[in-house]
Amino acid sequence: MLNPGVMRLIPGVRYSRDRRLSPDAEILVRLGQMVRPETPIARLAASAPSVNVPAGSLLGVQGEGLAQCLVKQVGDDVKEGDLLAKKGGLIGGKREVFAPAAGIIDMILYDTGEIVIARSRQIQISTAETIGRVTQIVPGERVTIETPAAIVECILGLGQPVSGILRIAVGSPSEELSEEKVSGDCRDSVLVGGVVARDQVLHLARKMGAVGIIAGGAPAARHESWLSAQPAIPLSLALTEGFGAASMHQSVFDLLGALAGAPVLIRPLPNGRARIVIMLREETELKPSPPPVLAIGSSVRIVRNPHFGAAGRIVEIPTSPQRLPSGVVTEVARVDLADHSRVVVPVANLELIG
């Protein structure tokens, strides 16, 4: 039987993240310090590779002939676009060579006709990219950041890692996050709505100070416009369910509601998904939460039409495949939904919750 997917919804866990560092990185945080995603934790002065400009061949001169053409000399500072060398001008074809990058003229190689620009050292800052407390520092290797947290895995994440204060903006998991719901001071807030359907809401939320939105679903057409938006979408976004008018799963909404006011992180992941990390108090008692399994009684959500977004419990898992109205023959489960109806759903269209 095709095993279903899993939506991880962990009410309490010790969330730990290692930030790997370069050997020469200078640490900017101390043990016990609270950090946010944008907090600088280390810096590194790195030199960029030098640039060799083939001035001789571009000007059509060889060997020492290049010396007659030089506008800049060894040791000169140059900015990108500065004139480096030129030939001709009054009569005949004029040729000019410009600096492709900023730096200092390091060498002139007459045998190859190249001007070498040594680029300035650049300071690279590593940020925390998460929330929590610094619990371990291993210089030149890593900084560990930890917090007790509730975790919600989301199907889609857009934008940068951001943290803010969790604020529930709607009354139910199916309610749209409309402009009216984005009111008052949203400074440093991560807003929670059932569905986010309009671009204007994102812009208004950003204007009011929000840094992120967590919602159940959004129309796919909006996603297209968000991906192509220039500049990028104004805040970070995490969808728990998917595209369309999918309500947020009740248990996710309930968990977020119970933790309203807590610091929260939206962390878009490299695979296009997102993780929501909600900080719990240090004294919170954490209980182990093993991954859920496909079994009678398991809590599930349906991730495809016709019951997309509905939640329920498995009451039966027939042993043989069944034919669906679509004509597809596949393994199914019978699920009792929250509205007390019973539906037959392909196991592939279920996600276990827990």
């Binding site: 039987m1 060799n52 083939p54 190249e114 034919r323 004509g327």
Partner: protein, 559 residues
Amino acid sequence: MTDAIDSILAIDHGSVSTKVALLDLVEGRYRFVTQVEALTQADDPRTSLLAAVEATQRKAGRRLLENDRLLTPECTNGSGVDAVVVTTSAGSPLRVLLAGIVPEASNAAIHRVVARVPAQVAGTLGIDDLRRHGGLKGASEFLNQLPIDVILFAGGSDGTSADSLVQVARAIAAVKTDGEEPALVYAGNKDALPDIADILSSRVTMHTVPNIEPGRGRYNLQPACEELYQAYIQRDGALGAVCRSMMPLERTTLLAEAKGTGISTRFIALWSQVDTLVADVGSHTSSVFSVISGEYSATVKPGIGIGVGAHAALQSIGIAKVLSWLSPAVSEDLVLDLVMNKSLRPNTVPSTADDVLIEMALTREILAMISPPARTFGMIVISGGVAARLQNQGLVALAVLDALQPRAPVRLAIDDLSLLGRLGALATIHPEAAGQVLVEDALCPLGTAISVAGRAKEGEVAVIAKVQYASGGHIEVHVPFGGIEVVPLARAGNARLVLQPARTLQIGNAPPGKSQTMEVTGGSVGVIIDARGRPLELPLSPDKRGEKLEEWLRALSPV
């Protein structure tokens, strides 16, 4: 090894699911026994393979594992298997740098090599590129920044000047990489090889194969393809390591799934003795393999599919084309939401009739996009995607006719167990077993389709078909222009068909109006007479189009 093989475990490690099929000798012939499918865990092939094999043990009631290793060879008590074949399509496409391109050549050959394997062009480095990058140093810096798995170095016919290839080789030699050196496949001018080897053999691992274009317009692509397939498998080191830890090396064959499907395609063409097309619309990759007049060809499109690649496919095709295969009541937003959700959760299956029609509409357009223009195949096989899961195989047949618009009588079949890739891999160690399973279990015949080309007045009789069943009895069917009729003919059935087209219509290469007589075989759908004309034109009016789509669907898949 062939003599010792009675039972085979055939594993496909796909991007969405891992399938394990058990093949065994049944009454002296190799047959498919059972199959299990488990979700592929990204970046954890060991868990995926173990879960799928454990599930196969349970389903087959046969012990296959001991301490997480496959039991081989088969024991006298029936435990274990004699051989294991593993195919993979889970890895990302191979990133290939095309090097050595010479401006005066067409360079079609080098691109055709890449198009035949799960690969994408990461960059090019020819003599023009050297100039563009400002010489050797600039070019080597450019190369250093490119994520490359393999360099495919080709160019120039044998006997032509080697100068430009040598310059490109020097640029490659100048690259200073921090990580692992990419492999280099040399498939160019053989007279340049000594100089190229002098420059490169100490810098990269060089694999030399015959020139892909030994003479102007003469191609020899397969050796270079084989090397790229080898690189594809070696690049996915994690799967290889898992296979080595779970299976004895001497009894295991690991192959790219696309390569296996290519081998099966050539077998089908040999067996059926007709030009053959195999189209595989997968989750992440779509491919077509063909044999036309004995010549094999393949196109593999990574990133375009009906699962993970559904959104990219829709973007490439355009939503208007997909909507044209759907009722006007289906909105653009509904299609977009479904396709995007499918990309997020590629393992889901359509539950409703609307959902399956949307997936099949996208499948049609992917098929049309990747298939060669030839319309005279004698055999078309569909593999992968929702098509393989559908019990309503009339819908699959209709999608094939819509997308490929064959002009000659054609046998249609479906690889409903998704076995073709694995059987191709099996053919490399045991062709007899592969052939028997392929013919008896893997190819599920849908029937024979006969299409009429040309135009006539809508509703007028386009073709009169007289069907004489080999088992006795006959029927006569009048098919109106613009319609499709299905004549029942079961899988094992044969019939003689006499077709009389209207005077403006033709069947195959026969002149318009000329009658045709042919022997046909049946299948799960039957004999399909497609009198919609070629090229197929959909009504412009949305309502009329919706009516015709429904009419054709009813003809092929009666409720």
